[in-house]
Symmetry: C2
Subunit: 284 residues, 2 copies
Protein backbone atom coordinates (compact mmCIF):
# COMPACT_ATOMS: atom_id res chain seq x y z
CA UNK A 1 0.00 0.00 0.00
CA UNK A 2 1.24 3.48 -0.85
CA UNK A 3 2.61 5.46 2.10
CA UNK A 4 0.54 8.55 1.21
CA UNK A 5 -2.85 9.10 -0.40
CA UNK A 6 -1.63 12.09 -2.38
CA UNK A 7 1.70 13.92 -2.51
CA UNK A 8 1.80 17.52 -3.78
CA UNK A 9 5.09 19.07 -4.93
CA UNK A 10 4.95 22.85 -4.94
CA UNK A 11 7.51 24.48 -7.27
CA UNK A 12 8.84 21.67 -9.38
CA UNK A 13 12.35 22.33 -10.72
CA UNK A 14 15.30 19.92 -10.54
CA UNK A 15 14.50 18.78 -6.99
CA UNK A 16 10.73 18.83 -7.25
CA UNK A 17 10.72 17.12 -10.64
CA UNK A 18 13.06 14.44 -9.35
CA UNK A 19 10.84 13.87 -6.30
CA UNK A 20 7.85 13.32 -8.60
CA UNK A 21 9.73 10.85 -10.81
CA UNK A 22 11.12 8.97 -7.81
CA UNK A 23 7.79 8.91 -5.92
CA UNK A 24 6.05 7.60 -9.06
CA UNK A 25 8.65 4.90 -9.62
CA UNK A 26 8.52 3.78 -5.98
CA UNK A 27 4.73 4.02 -5.75
CA UNK A 28 4.86 6.22 -2.65
CA UNK A 29 1.41 7.79 -3.16
CA UNK A 30 -2.01 6.97 -4.54
CA UNK A 31 -1.69 10.10 -6.70
CA UNK A 32 0.77 12.92 -7.33
CA UNK A 33 0.15 16.63 -7.86
CA UNK A 34 2.47 19.50 -8.67
CA UNK A 35 2.56 23.20 -9.29
CA UNK A 36 5.04 25.44 -11.04
CA UNK A 37 5.00 29.17 -11.58
CA UNK A 38 6.33 28.84 -15.13
CA UNK A 39 4.34 27.49 -18.09
CA UNK A 40 7.54 25.99 -19.49
CA UNK A 41 8.13 23.94 -16.33
CA UNK A 42 4.48 22.90 -16.25
CA UNK A 43 4.84 21.62 -19.82
CA UNK A 44 7.92 19.60 -18.81
CA UNK A 45 6.04 18.22 -15.80
CA UNK A 46 3.09 17.25 -18.00
CA UNK A 47 5.50 15.42 -20.28
CA UNK A 48 6.65 13.32 -17.31
CA UNK A 49 3.10 11.96 -17.17
CA UNK A 50 3.30 11.07 -13.48
CA UNK A 51 1.46 13.94 -11.74
CA UNK A 52 -1.53 16.23 -12.13
CA UNK A 53 -0.09 19.66 -13.02
CA UNK A 54 -1.67 22.83 -11.57
CA UNK A 55 -1.16 26.52 -12.21
CA UNK A 56 -2.51 27.44 -8.77
CA UNK A 57 -0.56 26.42 -5.65
CA UNK A 58 -3.57 26.24 -3.30
CA UNK A 59 -5.49 24.00 -5.68
CA UNK A 60 -2.41 21.82 -6.13
CA UNK A 61 -2.16 20.92 -2.42
CA UNK A 62 -5.90 20.20 -2.00
CA UNK A 63 -6.43 16.64 -0.74
CA UNK A 64 -2.70 15.94 -0.29
CA UNK A 65 -1.51 14.36 2.96
CA UNK A 66 2.14 15.24 2.17
CA UNK A 67 3.11 18.60 0.69
CA UNK A 68 6.73 19.26 -0.37
CA UNK A 69 7.68 22.87 -1.03
CA UNK A 70 10.59 23.08 -3.48
CA UNK A 71 10.47 26.74 -4.46
CA UNK A 72 13.64 28.89 -4.10
CA UNK A 73 14.46 29.60 -0.45
CA UNK A 74 13.77 33.33 -0.72
CA UNK A 75 10.16 32.60 -1.76
CA UNK A 76 9.41 30.10 1.03
CA UNK A 77 7.25 32.50 3.08
CA UNK A 78 5.09 33.53 0.12
CA UNK A 79 4.71 29.89 -0.95
CA UNK A 80 3.58 28.85 2.54
CA UNK A 81 0.99 31.66 2.45
CA UNK A 82 -0.10 30.69 -1.06
CA UNK A 83 -0.78 27.03 -0.22
CA UNK A 84 -2.49 27.69 3.12
CA UNK A 85 -6.05 28.01 1.72
CA UNK A 86 -5.78 24.58 0.08
CA UNK A 87 -4.08 22.59 2.88
CA UNK A 88 -6.06 19.69 4.33
CA UNK A 89 -6.07 19.69 8.16
CA UNK A 90 -3.24 17.47 9.35
CA UNK A 91 -1.43 17.41 6.00
CA UNK A 92 2.32 17.21 6.64
CA UNK A 93 4.40 19.97 5.04
CA UNK A 94 8.11 19.65 4.33
CA UNK A 95 10.55 21.38 1.98
CA UNK A 96 13.86 20.93 0.24
CA UNK A 97 15.57 24.26 0.90
CA UNK A 98 19.32 24.71 1.27
CA UNK A 99 18.88 26.77 4.44
CA UNK A 100 16.77 25.77 7.39
CA UNK A 101 16.61 28.41 10.14
CA UNK A 102 15.03 31.03 7.85
CA UNK A 103 12.57 28.49 6.43
CA UNK A 104 11.59 27.33 9.91
CA UNK A 105 10.69 30.97 10.66
CA UNK A 106 8.76 31.25 7.40
CA UNK A 107 6.86 28.03 8.23
CA UNK A 108 5.21 29.86 11.13
CA UNK A 109 2.87 31.21 8.45
CA UNK A 110 1.40 27.69 8.10
CA UNK A 111 -1.80 26.72 9.97
CA UNK A 112 -1.14 25.20 13.41
CA UNK A 113 -2.91 22.03 12.30
CA UNK A 114 -0.22 21.36 9.66
CA UNK A 115 3.02 19.92 11.04
CA UNK A 116 6.15 21.24 9.31
CA UNK A 117 9.42 19.25 9.15
CA UNK A 118 12.39 20.95 7.49
CA UNK A 119 14.22 18.82 4.91
CA UNK A 120 17.29 19.44 2.79
CA UNK A 121 18.25 16.77 0.29
CA UNK A 122 21.87 17.51 -0.77
CA UNK A 123 21.24 16.77 -4.39
CA UNK A 124 21.26 20.07 -6.24
CA UNK A 125 23.46 20.77 -9.19
CA UNK A 126 24.50 23.60 -11.44
CA UNK A 127 21.89 22.45 -13.94
CA UNK A 128 18.56 23.64 -12.60
CA UNK A 129 15.05 23.00 -13.85
CA UNK A 130 12.68 20.06 -14.17
CA UNK A 131 14.25 19.21 -17.54
CA UNK A 132 17.28 17.84 -15.63
CA UNK A 133 15.20 15.86 -13.12
CA UNK A 134 16.04 12.20 -12.48
CA UNK A 135 14.31 9.53 -10.38
CA UNK A 136 17.66 8.45 -8.88
CA UNK A 137 18.78 11.97 -7.88
CA UNK A 138 18.53 11.20 -4.15
CA UNK A 139 20.07 7.71 -4.14
CA UNK A 140 22.90 7.58 -1.61
CA UNK A 141 22.81 11.35 -1.05
CA UNK A 142 22.66 12.97 2.37
CA UNK A 143 19.27 14.44 3.29
CA UNK A 144 19.16 16.65 6.38
CA UNK A 145 16.05 16.73 8.54
CA UNK A 146 15.81 19.52 11.11
CA UNK A 147 13.04 18.61 13.55
CA UNK A 148 12.48 21.07 16.41
CA UNK A 149 11.39 18.41 18.87
CA UNK A 150 7.96 20.03 19.13
CA UNK A 151 6.39 18.27 16.13
CA UNK A 152 4.06 15.27 15.98
CA UNK A 153 6.32 12.16 16.09
CA UNK A 154 4.13 10.47 13.47
CA UNK A 155 4.68 13.35 11.04
CA UNK A 156 8.43 13.17 11.61
CA UNK A 157 8.41 9.39 11.10
CA UNK A 158 6.45 9.80 7.86
CA UNK A 159 8.91 12.36 6.46
CA UNK A 160 11.85 10.18 7.48
CA UNK A 161 10.36 7.19 5.70
CA UNK A 162 9.57 9.27 2.61
CA UNK A 163 13.20 10.37 2.06
CA UNK A 164 14.52 6.91 2.89
CA UNK A 165 12.24 5.45 0.22
CA UNK A 166 13.88 7.87 -2.24
CA UNK A 167 17.30 6.45 -1.29
CA UNK A 168 18.49 9.35 0.86
CA UNK A 169 20.91 8.92 3.75
CA UNK A 170 19.24 10.82 6.60
CA UNK A 171 21.04 13.11 8.98
CA UNK A 172 19.07 14.87 11.70
CA UNK A 173 20.24 18.04 13.39
CA UNK A 174 18.80 21.39 14.42
CA UNK A 175 18.30 24.17 11.90
CA UNK A 176 21.11 26.37 13.24
CA UNK A 177 23.63 23.52 13.12
CA UNK A 178 22.41 22.56 9.64
CA UNK A 179 23.00 26.07 8.35
CA UNK A 180 26.52 26.11 9.79
CA UNK A 181 27.34 22.77 8.16
CA UNK A 182 26.03 23.63 4.70
CA UNK A 183 27.77 27.00 4.76
CA UNK A 184 31.09 25.16 5.19
CA UNK A 185 30.54 22.42 2.65
CA UNK A 186 28.32 24.14 0.07
CA UNK A 187 27.66 27.88 0.35
CA UNK A 188 31.27 28.95 0.98
CA UNK A 189 32.64 26.66 -1.79
CA UNK A 190 30.03 28.10 -4.16
CA UNK A 191 30.97 31.70 -3.34
CA UNK A 192 34.69 30.85 -3.53
CA UNK A 193 34.24 29.20 -6.94
CA UNK A 194 32.43 32.33 -8.15
CA UNK A 195 35.24 34.53 -6.77
CA UNK A 196 37.84 32.35 -8.53
CA UNK A 197 35.94 32.49 -11.83
CA UNK A 198 35.64 36.30 -11.60
CA UNK A 199 39.34 36.60 -10.74
CA UNK A 200 40.47 34.29 -13.54
CA UNK A 201 38.40 36.00 -16.23
CA UNK A 202 40.01 39.32 -15.21
CA UNK A 203 43.58 38.04 -15.64
CA UNK A 204 45.34 39.31 -18.78
CA UNK A 205 46.65 35.77 -19.33
CA UNK A 206 43.20 34.12 -19.32
CA UNK A 207 42.64 32.06 -22.50
CA UNK A 208 39.60 29.82 -22.77
CA UNK A 209 41.31 27.38 -25.15
CA UNK A 210 43.87 26.53 -22.47
CA UNK A 211 41.36 25.91 -19.66
CA UNK A 212 41.68 22.31 -18.53
CA UNK A 213 39.97 20.05 -16.04
CA UNK A 214 41.57 21.90 -13.10
CA UNK A 215 39.92 25.26 -13.80
CA UNK A 216 36.69 23.62 -14.98
CA UNK A 217 36.27 21.53 -11.83
CA UNK A 218 37.37 24.31 -9.48
CA UNK A 219 34.68 26.61 -10.87
CA UNK A 220 31.95 24.14 -11.87
CA UNK A 221 29.45 25.14 -9.18
CA UNK A 222 29.79 28.81 -10.21
CA UNK A 223 27.64 27.88 -13.23
CA UNK A 224 24.68 27.58 -10.85
CA UNK A 225 21.71 29.91 -11.29
CA UNK A 226 22.18 33.16 -9.37
CA UNK A 227 18.37 33.33 -8.99
CA UNK A 228 18.70 30.42 -6.52
CA UNK A 229 22.05 31.29 -4.94
CA UNK A 230 21.41 34.93 -4.06
CA UNK A 231 18.56 33.75 -1.86
CA UNK A 232 20.57 30.91 -0.32
CA UNK A 233 23.59 33.05 0.59
CA UNK A 234 21.47 35.90 1.97
CA UNK A 235 19.46 33.43 4.07
CA UNK A 236 22.68 32.06 5.60
CA UNK A 237 24.83 35.19 5.83
CA UNK A 238 26.73 34.75 9.08
CA UNK A 239 28.43 31.44 8.34
CA UNK A 240 28.91 32.23 4.65
CA UNK A 241 30.61 35.53 5.51
CA UNK A 242 32.85 33.82 8.08
CA UNK A 243 33.86 31.17 5.56
CA UNK A 244 34.55 33.70 2.81
CA UNK A 245 36.71 35.70 5.19
CA UNK A 246 38.67 32.51 5.91
CA UNK A 247 39.10 31.95 2.16
CA UNK A 248 40.45 35.49 1.79
CA UNK A 249 42.87 34.99 4.68
CA UNK A 250 44.11 31.61 3.47
CA UNK A 251 44.58 32.97 -0.08
CA UNK A 252 46.53 35.88 1.42
CA UNK A 253 48.70 33.43 3.41
CA UNK A 254 49.56 31.52 0.25
CA UNK A 255 50.15 34.75 -1.66
CA UNK A 256 52.43 36.14 1.03
CA UNK A 257 54.45 32.90 1.11
CA UNK A 258 54.90 33.09 -2.68
CA UNK A 259 55.85 36.79 -2.55
CA UNK A 260 58.45 36.04 0.14
CA UNK A 261 59.72 32.92 -1.68
CA UNK A 262 59.02 31.17 1.63
CA UNK A 263 59.40 27.49 0.72
CA UNK A 264 58.65 25.95 4.15
CA UNK A 265 55.44 27.94 4.67
CA UNK A 266 54.17 27.34 1.13
CA UNK A 267 54.98 23.64 1.42
CA UNK A 268 53.20 23.39 4.78
CA UNK A 269 50.06 25.15 3.54
CA UNK A 270 49.83 23.10 0.34
CA UNK A 271 50.47 19.90 2.29
CA UNK A 272 47.73 20.70 4.83
CA UNK A 273 45.31 21.38 1.99
CA UNK A 274 46.32 18.17 0.19
CA UNK A 275 45.84 16.04 3.30
CA UNK A 276 42.45 17.62 4.02
CA UNK A 277 41.34 17.13 0.43
CA UNK A 278 42.50 13.52 0.34
CA UNK A 279 40.54 12.87 3.54
CA UNK A 280 37.34 13.84 1.71
CA UNK A 281 37.80 10.89 -0.63
CA UNK A 282 38.51 8.52 2.24
CA UNK A 283 35.15 9.42 3.78
CA UNK A 284 33.23 8.27 0.68
Amino acid sequence: MAQFKRIAVVGAGLIGGSILLAAARKGLAGSLACWSRSEKSRATLRDFGVAEVFDDAATCVRGADLVIVTTPVDTAAETFLAITPGLSPGAIVTDAGSVKAAILLAARHLPATNPFIGSHPMAGGEKAGAAHAAANLFEGRVCFLTPTGAEDPKALAAVRLFWQELGSVLHETDAAQHDEIVAAISHVPHAAASALMLAVMDQPGFRRFAAGAGLRDSTRVAAGEESLWVGIMLANPRHTVAGLLAVERRAAELRTAIEANDVPTLRRLLAEARIARQSLDRSE
Copy 2:
Protein backbone atom coordinates in the same frame (compact mmCIF):
# COMPACT_ATOMS: atom_id res chain seq x y z
CA MET B 1 60.33 4.39 -39.96
CA ALA B 2 60.51 5.64 -36.39
CA GLN B 3 60.92 9.41 -36.04
CA PHE B 4 63.83 9.04 -33.58
CA LYS B 5 66.59 6.48 -33.08
CA ARG B 6 66.31 6.63 -29.32
CA ILE B 7 64.19 8.71 -26.96
CA ALA B 8 65.32 9.21 -23.36
CA VAL B 9 62.84 10.35 -20.70
CA VAL B 10 64.58 11.82 -17.66
CA GLY B 11 62.49 11.72 -14.50
CA ALA B 12 59.58 9.47 -15.30
CA GLY B 13 56.49 10.19 -13.20
CA LEU B 14 52.95 10.64 -14.52
CA ILE B 15 54.03 12.69 -17.54
CA GLY B 16 57.27 10.84 -18.27
CA GLY B 17 55.68 7.42 -17.83
CA SER B 18 52.82 8.40 -20.12
CA ILE B 19 55.28 9.66 -22.76
CA LEU B 20 57.04 6.28 -22.68
CA LEU B 21 53.79 4.33 -23.03
CA ALA B 22 52.55 6.58 -25.83
CA ALA B 23 55.87 6.61 -27.70
CA ALA B 24 56.03 2.81 -27.49
CA ARG B 25 52.47 2.40 -28.73
CA LYS B 26 53.03 4.82 -31.63
CA GLY B 27 56.48 3.44 -32.48
CA LEU B 28 58.10 6.87 -32.36
CA ALA B 29 61.62 5.61 -31.62
CA GLY B 30 63.89 2.67 -32.36
CA SER B 31 64.41 2.34 -28.61
CA LEU B 32 63.32 4.05 -25.39
CA ALA B 33 65.32 4.85 -22.25
CA CYS B 34 64.33 6.37 -18.95
CA TRP B 35 65.69 7.41 -15.61
CA SER B 36 64.06 8.00 -12.26
CA ARG B 37 65.55 9.06 -8.97
CA SER B 38 63.36 6.65 -7.00
CA GLU B 39 63.77 2.88 -6.98
CA LYS B 40 60.00 2.51 -6.66
CA SER B 41 59.40 4.47 -9.87
CA ARG B 42 62.14 2.52 -11.64
CA ALA B 43 60.38 -0.71 -10.67
CA THR B 44 57.09 0.63 -12.10
CA LEU B 45 58.88 1.68 -15.29
CA ARG B 46 60.48 -1.77 -15.60
CA ASP B 47 57.01 -3.30 -15.27
CA PHE B 48 55.88 -1.25 -18.28
CA GLY B 49 58.40 -3.24 -20.32
CA VAL B 50 58.78 -0.54 -22.97
CA ALA B 51 62.05 1.21 -22.04
CA GLU B 52 65.52 0.52 -20.70
CA VAL B 53 65.53 1.83 -17.11
CA PHE B 54 68.62 3.58 -15.71
CA ASP B 55 69.59 4.78 -12.26
CA ASP B 56 72.03 7.33 -13.69
CA ALA B 57 70.70 10.27 -15.73
CA ALA B 58 73.84 10.79 -17.87
CA THR B 59 73.93 7.11 -18.86
CA CYS B 60 70.19 7.22 -19.63
CA VAL B 61 70.54 9.94 -22.29
CA ARG B 62 73.58 8.34 -24.02
CA GLY B 63 72.84 7.68 -27.68
CA ALA B 64 69.43 9.40 -27.60
CA ASP B 65 68.54 11.90 -30.33
CA LEU B 66 65.55 13.21 -28.31
CA VAL B 67 65.78 13.81 -24.58
CA ILE B 68 62.66 14.81 -22.60
CA VAL B 69 63.23 16.16 -19.11
CA THR B 70 60.17 15.54 -16.91
CA THR B 71 61.60 16.19 -13.46
CA PRO B 72 59.86 18.74 -11.14
CA VAL B 73 60.40 22.32 -12.34
CA ASP B 74 62.53 23.30 -9.36
CA THR B 75 65.07 20.59 -10.25
CA ALA B 76 65.36 21.50 -13.97
CA ALA B 77 68.78 23.16 -13.65
CA GLU B 78 70.33 20.26 -11.76
CA THR B 79 68.82 17.76 -14.20
CA PHE B 80 70.25 19.65 -17.19
CA LEU B 81 73.68 19.59 -15.51
CA ALA B 82 73.31 15.89 -14.65
CA ILE B 83 72.53 14.80 -18.21
CA THR B 84 75.17 17.00 -19.91
CA PRO B 85 78.02 14.44 -19.74
CA GLY B 86 75.89 11.86 -21.56
CA LEU B 87 74.28 14.04 -24.26
CA SER B 88 75.12 13.17 -27.87
CA PRO B 89 76.11 16.23 -29.93
CA GLY B 90 73.00 17.52 -31.69
CA ALA B 91 70.56 15.61 -29.49
CA ILE B 92 67.40 17.68 -29.09
CA VAL B 93 66.37 18.43 -25.51
CA THR B 94 62.84 19.34 -24.48
CA ASP B 95 60.87 19.23 -21.23
CA ALA B 96 57.33 19.08 -19.86
CA GLY B 97 57.49 21.71 -17.11
CA SER B 98 54.51 23.84 -16.03
CA VAL B 99 56.59 27.03 -16.19
CA LYS B 100 58.71 28.07 -19.11
CA ALA B 101 60.70 31.30 -18.49
CA ALA B 102 62.61 29.81 -15.52
CA ILE B 103 63.29 26.57 -17.41
CA LEU B 104 64.53 28.48 -20.45
CA LEU B 105 67.05 30.15 -18.14
CA ALA B 106 68.03 26.79 -16.61
CA ALA B 107 68.50 25.33 -20.11
CA ARG B 108 71.46 27.68 -20.59
CA HIS B 109 73.38 25.03 -18.63
CA LEU B 110 73.05 22.69 -21.63
CA PRO B 111 75.88 22.42 -24.20
CA ALA B 112 75.56 24.85 -27.11
CA THR B 113 75.43 21.88 -29.51
CA ASN B 114 72.14 20.67 -27.99
CA PRO B 115 69.06 22.63 -29.09
CA PHE B 116 66.46 23.15 -26.34
CA ILE B 117 62.75 23.63 -27.07
CA GLY B 118 60.47 24.29 -24.10
CA SER B 119 57.32 22.14 -23.99
CA HIS B 120 54.38 22.03 -21.59
CA PRO B 121 51.77 19.36 -22.16
CA MET B 122 48.69 20.39 -20.12
CA ALA B 123 48.00 16.89 -18.92
CA GLY B 124 48.95 16.74 -15.26
CA GLY B 125 46.60 15.61 -12.57
CA GLU B 126 46.35 15.42 -8.83
CA LYS B 127 47.49 11.79 -9.03
CA ALA B 128 51.22 11.91 -9.63
CA GLY B 129 53.66 9.10 -10.30
CA ALA B 130 54.37 6.63 -13.08
CA ALA B 131 51.78 4.27 -11.58
CA HIS B 132 49.05 6.56 -12.98
CA ALA B 133 50.63 6.87 -16.43
CA ALA B 134 48.48 6.27 -19.52
CA ALA B 135 49.36 6.13 -23.22
CA ASN B 136 46.38 8.36 -24.08
CA LEU B 137 47.18 11.08 -21.51
CA PHE B 138 48.00 13.66 -24.19
CA GLU B 139 45.17 12.93 -26.63
CA GLY B 140 43.32 16.14 -27.42
CA ARG B 141 45.14 18.09 -24.70
CA VAL B 142 46.85 21.42 -25.28
CA CYS B 143 50.65 21.29 -25.41
CA PHE B 144 52.48 24.60 -25.31
CA LEU B 145 55.75 25.02 -27.17
CA THR B 146 57.81 28.11 -26.37
CA PRO B 147 60.44 28.50 -29.07
CA THR B 148 62.70 31.56 -28.77
CA GLY B 149 63.13 31.96 -32.52
CA ALA B 150 66.87 31.32 -32.17
CA GLU B 151 66.72 27.52 -32.35
CA ASP B 152 67.42 25.18 -35.24
CA PRO B 153 64.16 24.99 -37.27
CA LYS B 154 64.66 21.24 -37.76
CA ALA B 155 64.80 20.70 -34.00
CA LEU B 156 61.60 22.71 -33.53
CA ALA B 157 59.88 20.78 -36.32
CA ALA B 158 60.91 17.47 -34.73
CA VAL B 159 59.54 18.46 -31.31
CA ARG B 160 56.29 19.67 -32.90
CA LEU B 161 55.85 16.38 -34.71
CA PHE B 162 56.66 14.41 -31.56
CA TRP B 163 53.84 15.99 -29.50
CA GLN B 164 51.42 15.83 -32.42
CA GLU B 165 52.08 12.09 -32.71
CA LEU B 166 51.09 11.82 -29.04
CA GLY B 167 47.76 13.48 -29.87
CA SER B 168 48.50 16.91 -28.40
CA VAL B 169 46.97 20.13 -29.71
CA LEU B 170 49.95 22.45 -30.12
CA HIS B 171 49.97 26.07 -29.11
CA GLU B 172 53.14 28.14 -29.64
CA THR B 173 53.91 31.28 -27.70
CA ASP B 174 56.85 32.85 -25.91
CA ALA B 175 57.85 31.72 -22.44
CA ALA B 176 56.69 34.92 -20.71
CA GLN B 177 53.24 34.76 -22.31
CA HIS B 178 53.00 31.04 -21.52
CA ASP B 179 53.68 31.69 -17.85
CA GLU B 180 51.02 34.39 -17.73
CA ILE B 181 48.45 32.08 -19.35
CA VAL B 182 49.09 29.06 -17.12
CA ALA B 183 49.05 31.25 -14.00
CA ALA B 184 45.49 32.28 -14.90
CA ILE B 185 44.14 28.88 -15.87
CA SER B 186 46.17 26.55 -13.64
CA HIS B 187 48.43 28.00 -10.94
CA VAL B 188 45.91 30.49 -9.53
CA PRO B 189 43.04 27.94 -9.55
CA HIS B 190 45.34 25.48 -7.76
CA ALA B 191 46.28 28.00 -5.09
CA ALA B 192 42.64 29.10 -4.73
CA ALA B 193 41.48 25.49 -4.34
CA SER B 194 44.09 25.01 -1.62
CA ALA B 195 42.95 28.22 0.10
CA LEU B 196 39.33 27.04 -0.06
CA MET B 197 40.20 23.63 1.36
CA LEU B 198 42.16 25.22 4.22
CA ALA B 199 39.31 27.63 4.93
CA VAL B 200 36.63 24.92 4.85
CA MET B 201 38.51 22.56 7.16
CA ASP B 202 38.80 25.41 9.68
CA GLN B 203 35.05 26.08 9.76
CA PRO B 204 33.31 24.81 12.92
CA GLY B 205 30.50 23.49 10.68
CA PHE B 206 32.78 21.35 8.49
CA ARG B 207 31.59 17.71 8.40
CA ARG B 208 33.18 15.28 5.98
CA PHE B 209 30.06 13.12 5.72
CA ALA B 210 28.14 16.04 4.23
CA ALA B 211 30.75 16.96 1.60
CA GLY B 212 29.19 16.57 -1.82
CA ALA B 213 30.31 16.93 -5.42
CA GLY B 214 30.45 20.72 -5.11
CA LEU B 215 33.14 20.80 -2.44
CA ARG B 216 34.95 17.80 -3.92
CA ASP B 217 35.20 19.32 -7.40
CA SER B 218 36.02 22.82 -6.16
CA THR B 219 39.00 21.47 -4.21
CA ARG B 220 40.05 18.48 -6.35
CA VAL B 221 43.32 19.97 -7.59
CA ALA B 222 44.36 20.78 -4.02
CA ALA B 223 45.06 17.04 -3.65
CA GLY B 224 48.10 17.57 -5.89
CA GLU B 225 51.56 16.85 -4.51
CA GLU B 226 53.03 19.93 -2.82
CA SER B 227 56.49 18.66 -3.82
CA LEU B 228 55.57 19.60 -7.41
CA TRP B 229 53.45 22.67 -6.73
CA VAL B 230 55.79 24.60 -4.43
CA GLY B 231 58.30 24.64 -7.28
CA ILE B 232 55.71 25.62 -9.89
CA MET B 233 54.25 28.52 -7.91
CA LEU B 234 57.67 29.86 -6.88
CA ALA B 235 58.86 29.68 -10.48
CA ASN B 236 55.86 31.77 -11.63
CA PRO B 237 55.40 34.14 -8.71
CA ARG B 238 54.37 37.41 -10.34
CA HIS B 239 51.28 36.21 -12.18
CA THR B 240 50.28 33.76 -9.44
CA VAL B 241 50.44 36.52 -6.82
CA ALA B 242 48.41 38.87 -9.04
CA GLY B 243 45.77 36.20 -9.56
CA LEU B 244 45.56 35.31 -5.88
CA LEU B 245 45.14 38.97 -5.01
CA ALA B 246 42.26 39.11 -7.49
CA VAL B 247 40.70 36.04 -5.81
CA GLU B 248 40.97 37.75 -2.42
CA ARG B 249 39.37 40.94 -3.79
CA ARG B 250 36.54 39.12 -5.56
CA ALA B 251 35.84 37.01 -2.44
CA ALA B 252 35.75 40.24 -0.41
CA GLU B 253 33.31 41.78 -2.91
CA LEU B 254 30.96 38.83 -2.54
CA ARG B 255 31.38 38.84 1.24
CA THR B 256 30.65 42.57 1.47
CA ALA B 257 27.53 42.18 -0.66
CA ILE B 258 26.28 39.39 1.62
CA GLU B 259 27.09 41.41 4.77
CA ALA B 260 25.18 44.40 3.37
CA ASN B 261 22.27 42.21 2.16
CA ASP B 262 22.94 43.88 -1.22
CA VAL B 263 20.80 41.81 -3.59
CA PRO B 264 21.62 43.64 -6.87
CA THR B 265 25.41 43.47 -6.34
CA LEU B 266 25.37 39.83 -5.23
CA ARG B 267 23.15 38.92 -8.17
CA ARG B 268 25.40 40.76 -10.63
CA LEU B 269 28.59 39.12 -9.32
CA LEU B 270 27.12 35.60 -9.31
CA ALA B 271 25.64 36.17 -12.79
CA GLU B 272 29.00 37.35 -14.18
CA ALA B 273 30.70 34.29 -12.70
CA ARG B 274 27.99 31.98 -14.07
CA ILE B 275 28.25 33.42 -17.58
CA ALA B 276 32.05 33.18 -17.54
CA ARG B 277 31.93 29.60 -16.29
CA GLN B 278 29.34 28.58 -18.86
CA SER B 279 31.55 30.05 -21.59
CA LEU B 280 34.31 27.58 -20.61
CA ASP B 281 32.05 24.71 -21.62
CA ARG B 282 31.13 26.36 -24.90
CA SER B 283 34.82 26.52 -25.82
CA GLU B 284 35.22 22.74 -25.56
